[in-house]
Symmetry: C2
Subunit: 267 residues, 2 copies
């Protein structure tokens, strides 16, 4: 089994003010998946411009003030849920166009968080979909949170990937992003930033570049999730899906540019 | 708590070859719900022309032949799932337009059937959505079936209503249809057909008019589900939502035209 994450910045125009699909990327990715050899595949995609603007606007996951604020956030929840569902429909549709038997799985229908971390999610159906040969497609969504102060939370695709990986123990986790991998410092700021082939701890990063502005955590948040995964024995690869054929090669297990997140071998 | 079912023939143009919304009905229904007094409300809607044509075309729920047939049905599952999800989005959107805090709940994400009957569905999230003040909106969908011979099934909105009612014990179940209620015989065939105010058993129906062609069961199938509900103490009302203000009155508990399905009092 392989879990393939498609970043919101890859399949949507993340800088757009309104939900905007990145058609070209999505088409190319779907085609590459269809051309690759995989036994069992789960796709998890981010929300990008279909989710983040709404989640930010309504402050989903922020502490709730008075009743008016609660109602406003609930309306925001409803709006965000619909927008990311719309994105998911487009992804499933595009996969199907390339003969991939996509099946949509809505996180807000079966996942509960507490303080923004998943505490309950029955994965039996996902296992059954996989066994039958479907490709379950999950996505960053808004979900109920059992912490009374916030009541609702933004659930990132990355956290879903981690939860699935912890529980389903996939052979590989591939994270398709718009960067070549993890650098020792921000390559947009530092010309001498170096791509790291392997990362086993946050110590590989210079200074504090693990925090970037992103509702669901930027590369720093992603890396932390992946290091925790590595700790329990699930390795993951960060790749730049803007390079053509890289998803196909990654799914086929070929050697590609990117960063492997794996456990440090203790001597 | 009230469970309100909106028939596929009410919110879609059921006779249409392609998925076609009944905008007028949907708008009116949403407005009436927003004008009524309810504490907790669950909406369940049928699939109508968004689901039945696909489910029929691909034979979802029919016995599976060879691998080619399985793959074909799986593709049909994927297509049907997307179409009914699209209808659900339209319903949620319209409810939200009238300030109803709709939240979409996708049956195929958490419900499993065996031989076309629900055997597993965790309702905790639905309870939580209700407690917070959301209006969960479920719908007729395609789902996985644990019976190996069929593997997939069409899950009707009516069966969902019944399962929810059995487990959540609502105060009332209201079934919005395009007929005035249950008649003692088919009113489209017999001019002397009489509307029944109360039905407690299938004996109230003359001849075999309980079977009509409908992928998810016509009035006969509906009535059987409701009689089983009545048996465990949950009464339901069948109303014709084409009459304006009837949903508002029904939600408010006013006296309206329709058929009440209730348990026979044994002496």
């Amino acid at each position: 089994m392989i879990i393939l994450k498609l970043g919101g910045s890859v399949i949507t125009r993340k800088e757009a003010e309104n939900p905007t699909l990145n058609h070209e990327n999505l088409e190319r990715i779907a085609r590459e998946i269809s051309q690759s050899n995989y036994q069992k595949l789960i796709v998890v995609h981010g929300a990008g411009s279909f989710g983040h603007p709404f989640a930010l606007k309504y402050g989903i996951g922020d502490e709730i003030g008075n009743n008016q604020d609660l109602e406003n956030k609930m309306m925001g929840f409803s709006i965000t849920q619909q927008a990311v569902k719309e994105l998911n429909s487009r992804v499933c549709q595009c996969l199907r166009k390339y003969n991939i038997l996509s099946v949509s799985i809505q996180p807000s229908s079966f996942i509960l968080t507490k303080n923004k971390r998943i505490i309950s999610a029955n994965l039996n159906l996902i296992r059954k979909y996989l066994d039958l040969g479907f490709v379950p497609v999950l996505y960053g969504d808004v979900v109920l949170d059992s912490e009374d102060a916030i009541k609702m939370a933004v659930l990132s695709g990355d956290q879903i990937v981690k939860y699935l990986a912890e529980n389903l123990k996939p052979k590989r986790v591939i994270l398709g992003t718009d960067v070549d991998g993890i650098f020792n410092k921000d390559p947009k700021k530092y010309a001498d930033a170096q791509l790291l082939d392997v990362v086993s701890s946050l110590d590989h990063m210079e200074n504090g570049d693990t925090d970037t502005a992103d509702v669901t955590g930027g590369m720093g948040g992603k890396l932390r999730e992946l290091l925790e995964l590595a700790d329990i024995g699930v390795e993951s690869e960060i790749i730049n899906v803007n390079h053509s054929n890289i998803i196909k090669k990654a799914l086929n297990g070929e050697n590609i540019m990117g960063t492997l997140i794996k456990k440090k071998i203790r001597r």
